[in-house]
């Protein structure tokens, strides 16, 4: 067996009978809502580990080596907590960046086995147009053969992803403009709950419109001059509010409109839809195009997206960039080295924040505040001219 075959085979372990499978996956933002809908539609039993927290981080840190990145530590903790709750099939998603992630799975597998857990690990490669492999992996864990259930599961899943993305975007827009603090947040939470509880395809398809209408009802100050800050960086820390210490909320409350460049639904649509049906320019493609002056090649992780987004932002009237990444993240260290030049030449303020287990909240907020002040001053100057 050659290396590539071995690698493929190790991606789908098969020691547990399908009917006994209890499935779990790592936590990241709210991907649990759509995934739950999908798997339940396929007739699977699932366990959802508690959301990321200090406790989870502690478990992760205790069971992993020092030099490894933060996302791994949390993923591992999610697995441990899920296994403790009875899970026996662990799903893992490998993003397209092909960084340390591939190695992670191997390591998590070994660590968990040496801790005495019995389980199967099933790996989903989320590269370009991987619909077929994804279906195979879902078939592998559920053995569901009913096409209607697949249809239902995937429509529910996709529509819920889009609903959550819509709610998030509206939250980012409304929060800095709302007249009564907390309105937007409450509306968002409400819709997350409804999205989670929706169980029919028709209902799920309606969600997006309903969410838009509901957010419209929140009283806002339409004339307020709100600076726009792009949030960019490493995939996991961007999407996980625990790890990024809810930076979106902090910024919103400081009167800033956040625009996060990686939205789960967009990304998923791009990686799963066969390229035949995908006509929009993907985020990656746009990034490659805009980063060209600074980067001639992608180098793993989200580095080229980071650079491309910064240039894009500068040329589209965005006021500032906050770049976040986990400590010792290799692609983002490259990005940190490139950003000062981009910031200077494209004339846009950029701040890089590195997150690790010890990141203290107070110092973190102070830095964000100082940056927001700078961005606001710059925006004012521009408005006066």
């Amino acid at each position: 067996m050659n290396t590539a075959e071995k690698l493929e085979k190790s991606k789908m372990e098969n020691t547990i009978p399908t009917k006994d499978r209890i499935i779990a996956w790592p936590r990241m933002g709210r991907i649990d809502i759509p995934l739950k809908a999908l798997l339940l539609s396929l007739g699977a039993k699932i366990v959802i580990p508690p959301a990321n927290s200090n406790e989870a981080l502690e478990i992760g840190v205790r069971n992993s080596i020092e030099g490894i990145c933060l996302p791994y530590k949390l993923n591992l903790a999610n697995y441990i907590m899920a296994l403790e709750k009875g899970a026996n099939t662990l799903m893992m998603f490998q993003a397209p960046g092909s960084c340390r992630l591939g190695n992670y799975t191997k390591m998590a597998q070994k660590t968990l086995k040496s801790m005495g857990y019995k389980f199967d690990m099933v790996i989903f490669d989320m590269y370009k147009s991987k619909m077929k492999q994804t279906l195979q992996a879902f078939w592998h864990v559920t053995h569901c053969i009913n096409p209607w259930r697949y249809y239902k599961g995937f429509s529910l899943g996709f529509n819920k992803f889009f609903a959550i993305d819509t709610a998030e975007r509206l939250l980012f827009y409304t929060r800095p403009r709302e007249l009564h603090r907390g309105d937007a947040e409450r509306c968002y939470e409400k819709w997350l709950k409804i999205t989670d509880e929706t169980n029919s395809v028709i209902g799920a398809k309606r969600l997006k419109k309903q969410i838009i209408n509901d957010f419209k009802k929140i009283p806002i100050d339409k004339n307020k001059k709100v600076p726009i800050i792009y949030l960019i960086g490493e995939f996991f820390v961007l999407l996980d509010p625990y790890t990024n210490q809810n930076i979106e909320k902090e910024l919103g409350e400081m009167g800033v409109e956040v625009q996060r460049q990686i939205m789960f639904g967009d990304w998923l649509e791009h990686v799963l839809k066969p390229s035949l049906f995908y006509h929009k320019e993907s985020h990656r493609e746009r990034s490659v195009r805009y980063a060209e002056k600074y980067m001639k090649r992608a180098i793993g992780g989200e580095c080229i997206e980071t650079i491309g987004d910064t240039v894009y932002a500068a040329r589209h009237g965005v006021d500032g960039i906050i770049h976040i990444s986990p400590f010792s993240c290799m692609p983002e260290i490259v990005a940190q080295n490139i950003l000062p030049k981009v910031s200077k030449e494209e004339d846009i303020p950029v701040m890089s924040l590195v997150l690790d287990e010890q990141t203290g909240k107070a110092g973190y907020i102070t830095r964000i505040e100082a940056f927001v002040d700078l961005v606001k001053r710059k925006q004012q100057k521009r408005n006066n001219n």
Partner: protein
């Protein structure tokens, strides 16, 4: 033969891929009629210079690399070779920082020079030959016969170099001889009481400033040192396979491969892992090997270095490790029965025909 050459010189930073591929680079560029200019050996000044340009979280070898590029620019080199070695096999990638060397250099150094930045990316079907053609084309050389010949000249120097190191000739000596077209063999050395294998990137281990002369220090303590240069690519791959791992990183052979090879053939009393502080790939590879070491009771020490690592503390750690190995060896020799119990399955690693000798990180 092309009549007109755009550049007369090519500058090669004495860092990163230099330590794996320089014999090839030398043969290749010389054959193309270019004068090869090397940056000066790494000193503390090189490190300080590099540190000025990159963010502080960047690992030491990249700071050093940047320092070398600056050194070449100061020497007046106008074409500098900064390759991007993305992957050396299908989905066998390098660390992002090595993949992105030209991206870093382009954006941190604000001085005029031409960067020759070929890409090697087997995942995307860009072969080593393509890599060489890109290089030559960027230098204004387009005659494919001339380039093909340069490639084979490059391999000649490389293979001579590797034949020498494999037989035990030191890195520096083999390099000097290979470049002069000479060939030396190691005269059988005195048997030393202890042997260790070092798992480390060539750019860390063979850079005397970065490694703080680790090899020489060990030799002074009467320890025989084995490195990735003593193991063929085939043996290295076989060893990784045999311990049940899968090659993931492009430079895994220098680390996991070398360690696994010596772990299996039991020629050594201990393993030393040397890596830069904050290195992502190394933290994973060393962890993997330490797991296998524990299983068979092979001592392992992990030394991490950065620009602030002090010589004294470093020496103390090595000495303590060597002492421990010595005590262990004595006690085992005193009780031969104990040794038998510890014996693991003897492997057939090392029996492979040494057919082709190729650069571990390029081909």
């Amino acid at each position: 033969m092309t009549m007109y050459k755009k550049y007369k010189q090519i500058g090669i930073p004495r860092a990163i891929s230099y330590y794996n591929n320089y014999p090839f680079y030398y043969g290749f560029f010389t054959s193309l009629g270019l004068e090869v200019v090397l940056s000066d050996k790494t000193t503390t000044k090189t490190i300080n210079e590099g540190t000025k340009y990159v963010v502080s979280d960047t690992c030491l070898p990249i700071k050093v690399y940047t320092g070398h590029v600056v050194n070449l620019i100061n020497k007046g080199c106008d074409a500098i070779f900064v390759p991007s070695i993305q992957s050396t096999g299908y989905k066998i990638n390098n660390c992002s920082k090595i993949r992105g060397l030209p991206e870093i250099i382009r954006n941190v150094i604000d001085k005029p020079f031409t960067m020759i930045e070929p890409t090697l990316d087997k995942t995307e079907n860009i072969s080593f030959k393509d890599f060489c053609f890109q290089t030559a084309n960027a230098l204004g050389i387009t005659d494919s016969d001339e380039i093909e010949k340069a490639i084979s000249d490059g391999w000649k120097v490389y293979n001579a170099f590797f034949e020498m190191t494999k037989s035990g000739v030191s890195y520096t000596e083999a390099l000097e001889n290979a470049i002069q077209g000479k060939f030396v063999r190691k005269t059988v050395g005195i048997v030393k009481p202890l042997s260790v294998a070092i798992m480390a990137h060539g750019y860390n281990l063979f850079d005397d400033r970065i490694s703080l002369n680790l090899i020489k220090k060990l030799e002074k303590m009467d320890v025989r040192v084995y490195t990735s240069l003593n193991v063929t690519r085939e043996d290295s791959l076989a060893a990784i396979d045999q311990i049940g791992e899968i090659q993931y990183w492009a430079n895994e052979l220098e680390l996991t491969g070398t360690a696994a090879y010596y772990l299996l053939n039991k020629k050594v009393d201990g393993i030393i892992a040397l890596s830069a502080f904050g290195c992502g790939p190394d933290s994973l590879m060393v962890d993997e090997i330490s797991y296998h070491c524990k299983e068979v009771g092979m001592p392992l020490i992990h030394l991490t270095i950065d620009e602030h690592t002090g010589e004294a503390g470093f020496v103390t750690r090595i000495e303590a490790f060597v002492d421990m190995l010595m005590r262990k060896k004595r006690s085992v020799l005193a009780k031969p029965s104990a040794q038998k119990q510890k014996t693991v399955k003897v492997s057939n690693v090392g029996k492979f025909e040494e057919t082709k000798v190729l650069a571990s990180s390029v081909k």
